[in-house]
């Protein structure tokens, strides 16, 4: 007779594991979608927690200011510096302001802001809500007749949706400043010439597409961070997983959104 000991438990094959991981990922996306629907169900209904929204805007915006400033400036300088040799080969360094502004305004500013925010803000939201879930603070809100989803999730998602576009505009300006300083130092281009050349190739569609991207990225970072934290498993491990999941999932979705919005904006040009 065969016993449990004599029959080794069959290990799932690599394909099975991959299939399971893909299924888990799509299940998570579906759950995020349900979470997203709950957000829209609750966000328009009173009571409105404006005070908490402003507090969260402060947390998202002001607390990220130093990192965003530094990153934006460095991106402007580095991008300009790295682009110069290629343009120099064709004697086209006068195109640098246009090149830098197109790259920054159309792609880099919203994307870089979103990636920084996903790392800093998304992980912080995931960890904070995860910790609140684990220590029963969310349950405590629920049993005291208040709506934790509204107070914790709606406010944070609104805050990231409002703050991240503002941060993206700020990053764009700071990066352009970095680019200008580098161009001014090397080519001696004046400020007014730089501004004229930088904004000449940009259209309103470019500006609105970038702003729309930043709004969508902000919403994504907020909703994913909140989803991960709000549904954290019990235990401290769950808090770490929530923070990590918030960053990884938000970044992944942000990249997909970037591709989609670029395609959609292309149809309007």
């Amino acid at each position: 007779m065969e016993t449990a000991e004599s029959t080794p438990k069959s290990q799932p094959s690599r394909i099975d594991r991959m299939r399971s991981a893909v299924a888990d990922f799509f299940l998570m996306l579906y759950r995020i979608y349900l979470f997203f629907l709950q957000f829209f169900k609750e966000v328009f209904l009173p009571p409105y927690e404006w005070k908490e929204v402003f507090r969260q805007c402060y947390e998202v915006g002001v607390r990220s200011f130093t990192l965003i400033t530094l990153t934006g400036f460095i991106i402007g300088v580095i991008f300009t510096k790295q682009s110069r040799p290629s343009l120099l080969e064709f004697g086209a360094t006068s195109w640098l302001p246009s090149l830098v502004s197109i790259a920054i305004m159309k792609a880099l500013a919203p994307l870089v802001t979103a990636l920084i925010a996903a790392g800093k803000v998304g992980s912080s939201i995931g960890a904070e809500l995860g910790s609140m879930r684990v220590t029963e603070q969310i349950d405590a809100m629920e049993v005291s007749g208040t709506k934790p989803f509204k107070f914790l999730v709606c406010t944070r998602v609104l805050a990231t949706t409002l703050s991240i576009p503002l941060l993206a505009i700020y990053v764009a300006l700071i990066a352009l400043l970095g680019g200008y300083l580098n161009i001014n130092q090397n080519e001696g281009t004046s400020y007014s010439t730089f501004i004229q050349q930088a904004f000449e190739p940009l259209t309103f569609v470019d500006f609105w597409a970038s702003l729309a991207k930043a709004v969508v990225f902000g919403f994504t970072i907020g909703i994913v961070g909140c989803y991960q934290g709000y549904n954290a498993d019990k235990g401290t491990e769950g808090v770490g997983k929530a923070a990590n999941g918030a960053v990884v999932t938000a970044m992944f979705i942000v990249f997909i959104e970037e591709v989609l919005i670029v395609q959609i904006a292309g149809w309007f040009r």
Binding site: P47, E128, S131, M132, T135, E136, Q137, D139, A140, M141, E142, V143, S144, G145, T146, K147
Partner: protein, 257 residues
């Protein structure tokens, strides 16, 4: 402190549970629970860890849903209630969590104001302040009003957790392990506070614990949860007047060498 005599209205059940069943996967935690809590009564639920004591009060407060059975709280069917009705009912139930569950990012004042300003919208600033001062005085911790939860000791956090539930003047109190992790002197203080809450606020309470000193000091009745069911319900002495090998070790561990 000796418990004062309280008036228990046995004709008035504030909680009535029948045939309650709850499972987590294959693990059947509660297997057909029947329980009544009378007006003005302190009922202690005793049992080993993992027997579903905390699950029971989470079911009562609507945080979890059972597979079967009925839960009637203050005339409301908790299982078939609407979300809005459940919110309204929860204001009438105070839930003191095992780890206090104080909001880390808020001061004690804000912790206490949080449920108040969201559920009593017509209160003036002065009335809110008066309420906060009143419950903090009731738990003897007025001096902590501007402190953060992290600055308090375990016993103080428990008291503030109780104060936060009292601020809405609940009719029912649910205490989840109120003395867990506290030193014996603080345990006695918490037990006295539970009795004081019963007297002063005229609450009916379920106290989840495995601390027999607590059970003896605060319980008007004791219910012993074993194998997913209440095997023994009665006064403290009645419950432990048995040679049941599942019950006796509890008493021996706490009260004999």
């Amino acid at each position: 402190m000796q418990k004062e005599k309280v008036n228990i209205d046995k004709s008035n059940e504030v909680i009535r549970i029948r045939g309650l069943e709850k499972s987590f996967g294959d693990y059947h935690v509660l297997r057909g629970i029947d329980l009544d809590l009378y007006q003005g009564e302190n009922l202690v639920v005793l049992g080993r860890s993992g027997t579903g004591k905390s699950v029971l009060i989470k079911l009562i407060s609507g945080l979890l849903r059972p597979e079967q059975g009925s839960i009637n709280v203050l005339g409301n069917d908790v299982i078939n209630i609407t979300e809005r009705e459940l919110e309204a009912l929860r204001i009438r139930i105070g839930f003191s969590f095992q780890n206090s569950a104080l909001y880390d990012s808020m001061t004690i004042r804000k912790n206490l104001e949080f449920p108040l300003v969201r559920n009593r919208k017509n209160l003036t600033r002065k009335e809110i302040d008066d309420n906060v001062h009143s419950v903090l005085e009731a738990v003897g911790l007025l001096q902590t009003i501007n402190q953060m939860p992290a600055e308090l000791s375990g016993g103080q956090r428990k008291r503030i957790g109780i104060a936060r539930t009292l601020i809405l003047n609940p009719e029912i109190m649910l205490y989840d392990e109120p003395t867990a992790g506290l030193d014996p002197i603080t345990c006695i203080e918490i037990n006295d506070l539970i009795n004081e809450v019963q007297q002063r606020y005229n609450t009916s309470s379920i106290i989840i614990t495995h601390d027999l000193t607590c059970a003896k000091q605060v319980g008007d009745r004791v219910a012993m949860l074993l194998d997913g069911q209440f095997q023994r319900v009665g006064t403290f002495d009645e419950v432990f007047a048995t040679d049941d090998p599942r019950v006796k070790p509890f008493y021996n561990y706490n009260f004999t060498e």
